[in-house]
């Protein structure tokens, strides 16, 4: 037991915990929006498209993270744009940008003389290597996102629920969609550091799936998701240390486990209720 506490003295671990907290806040907000609008797929699209930016940044010798952010924003805006203007189904738009991003990334990585060392860490992520600078950036984004969701809660909610109606109330739904898209993109890019392109999706959906067992209210879902997300990430982190297993995978496992336990609890409660109506 003592051994478990000793790990908290290492700054890489405390950094990971702080990053976990910030990520769960970001993913709690953005994920609830994504899940409610049934565009979970969008987060997959944005993450994969951002790979194109990573590739291009390598090629140009820039910061890959910057490249990822730019591509993520472009693809998020692109998805909104194509569906609004070009009369393309949202899921097709996502799939196209997803593929385009990955293809660009692969080609640029291929064309770049020299190696692309962080590539694997972008694919799989690593919460243990989060630097203090990363945390600072995340904190700033987190504050901005929180302010935005508090101030614009209703416009965002109503646009997500029924954009056509919201438009008739003179809401600038296009602007709202673009802005939320950009924030979702940024949130995803920052989460890539934690969970990697391939796993980031989990952070945005599993807490929400768990929260939706309890509530059908957007606001409550955000708070619950944040809570569940943070419990999952921190328990997963400590568990991964204890069992000496990869943190990312164990965090996901923990999140899924929480979901499964609660789901099972609900089933059992229903069964008991059905017997004593």
């Amino acid at each position: 037991m003592q051994d478990i506490f000793s790990i908290f003295q290492y700054s890489f671990f405390t950094n990971a915990l702080i990053a976990g907290l910030l990520t769960s806040i970001l993913a709690g907000i953005a994920g609830t929006y994504i899940v409610s609008r049934k565009i979970v797929f969008i987060s997959g699209g944005i993450t994969h498209a951002s790979f194109g930016g990573i590739g291009l940044a390598y090629f140009l010798g820039l910061n890959p993270f910057l490249g990822a952010a730019v591509f993520a924003i472009l693809s998020a805006v692109g998805i909104e744009w194509t569906t609004n203007k070009a009369n393309i189904r949202e899921d097709s738009a996502i799939a196209i940008l997803w593929s385009l991003g990955m293809a660009i990334g692969i080609i640029f990585v291929f064309l770049t003389p020299g190696y692309a060392p962080n590539l694997m860490s972008f694919l799989f992520g690593n919460i243990l290597t989060v630097s203090t600078t990363d945390i600072l950036y995340m904190l700033v984004l987190c504050i901005i996102v929180c302010i935005c969701i508090v101030v614009f809660y209703r416009p965002i909610l109503y646009t997500a629920f029924d954009a056509e109606y919201a438009k008739t109330t003179h809401l600038n739904t296009t602007l709202i969609k673009y802005i939320t898209a950009i924030f979702v993109a940024l949130t995803i890019v920052f989460s890539i550091r934690i969970a990697g392109i391939i796993l980031v999706l989990s952070l945005f959906t599993i807490p929400q799936a768990t929260a939706s067992i309890f509530t059908h209210d957007f606001k409550k879902m955000i708070f619950l998701s944040i809570g569940i997300g943070f419990i999952g990430i921190s328990t997963g982190l400590i568990g991964s240390y204890y069992f000496n297993l990869p943190s990312g995978a164990i965090i996901i496992f923990t999140l899924i486990l929480i979901w499964a336990l609660i789901k099972a609890g609900e089933k059992i409660r229903n069964l008991i209720n059905a017997d004593n109506p």
Partner: protein, 249 residues
């Protein structure tokens, strides 16, 4: 009295070379109560969407209080088909409150009075007990009632209703029509309905939107002419209702 909404020479539709509604002229004034009738596929819903700015017309002009800025006017809207995702996590009362967005702008927060008003409306449509339920758990008629509340909560200048009597039971339908007459004292109403028999008793003017649009002079209207152009008039008493025709050719 000034016009609230003026459509002139509107052509609109879904494919560039196949307009669904052609050369539409329409003028909505304060306290108008216009019943819009016409066969299925006649273009009624399309016309409403053009008025609401949801579909851009191919040609023609729409003026809102004399300008082309559609935010100039406060419109309440009840769509014909609600294709909203039934599993969206939103409470019934929030759906009603979303009707207030127009006057709130981006930063709007809701006052206690507004929430009370939303609850009062829900009580009127007998759904106050469902106020905190998820929207997806309502029956067809209950949902229709919620969307009606959403349309009227903002006290709009023009209320646009696309077949509000669908789904709802007779009890409520009667209450609805009473309510509309009450509301008409302070707002213009555009009402699409196939139940002309009932609505003809309280609408002030009637407008036909047909797949084939033909112009009748209002003084020349007779049930024969309307029948020729397949207006569903079997139940209208034309003497009582002034007949307004939307096409000019």
């Amino acid at each position: 009295m000034n016009s609230l909404i003026t459509l002139s020479n509107i052509n609109a539709g879904y494919m560039a070379n196949k307009p669904v509604i052609k050369n539409i002229h329409l003028d909505v004034k304060a306290n108008d109560f216009i019943g819009i009738i016409g066969p299925n596929g006649g273009g009624k819903s399309t016309l409403l969407k053009v008025i609401l700015g949801l579909i851009a017309p191919y040609s023609g002009s729409i003026l809102y209080k004399g300008t082309s800025d559609h935010t100039n006017i406060n419109i309440g809207y009840l769509p014909q088909i609600n294709a909203n995702d039934k599993s969206f996590p939103i409470k019934v009362i929030d759906v009603v409150l979303s009707g207030l967005m127009g006057s709130k702008g981006f930063f709007g927060r809701y006052t206690k009075e507004e929430k009370t008003e939303a609850l009062r409306l829900l009580q009127f449509v007998k759904l106050d007990q469902h106020a905190n339920n998820a929207i997806g758990k309502l029956s067809g008629g209950q949902m229709q009632r919620v969307y009606l509340c959403r349309a009227i909560i903002n006290n709009p200048e023009v209320l646009i209703l696309d077949e509000p009597n669908n789904f709802v039971d007779k009890h409520f339908e009667a209450e609805l029509y009473e309510l509309l007459q009450e509301l008409n004292k302070r707002m213009a109403i555009l009402l699409v309905s196939h139940d002309i028999g009932t609505i003809s008793s309280f609408i002030k003017t009637i407008a036909c939107v047909n797949e084939e649009l033909h112009y009748h002079n209002s003084n020349k209207i007779s049930s024969e002419i309307l029948q020729t152009y397949s207006c569903p008039i079997e139940l209208i008493s034309h003497g009582k209702v002034p007949h307004r025709v939307l096409h000019n050719h």
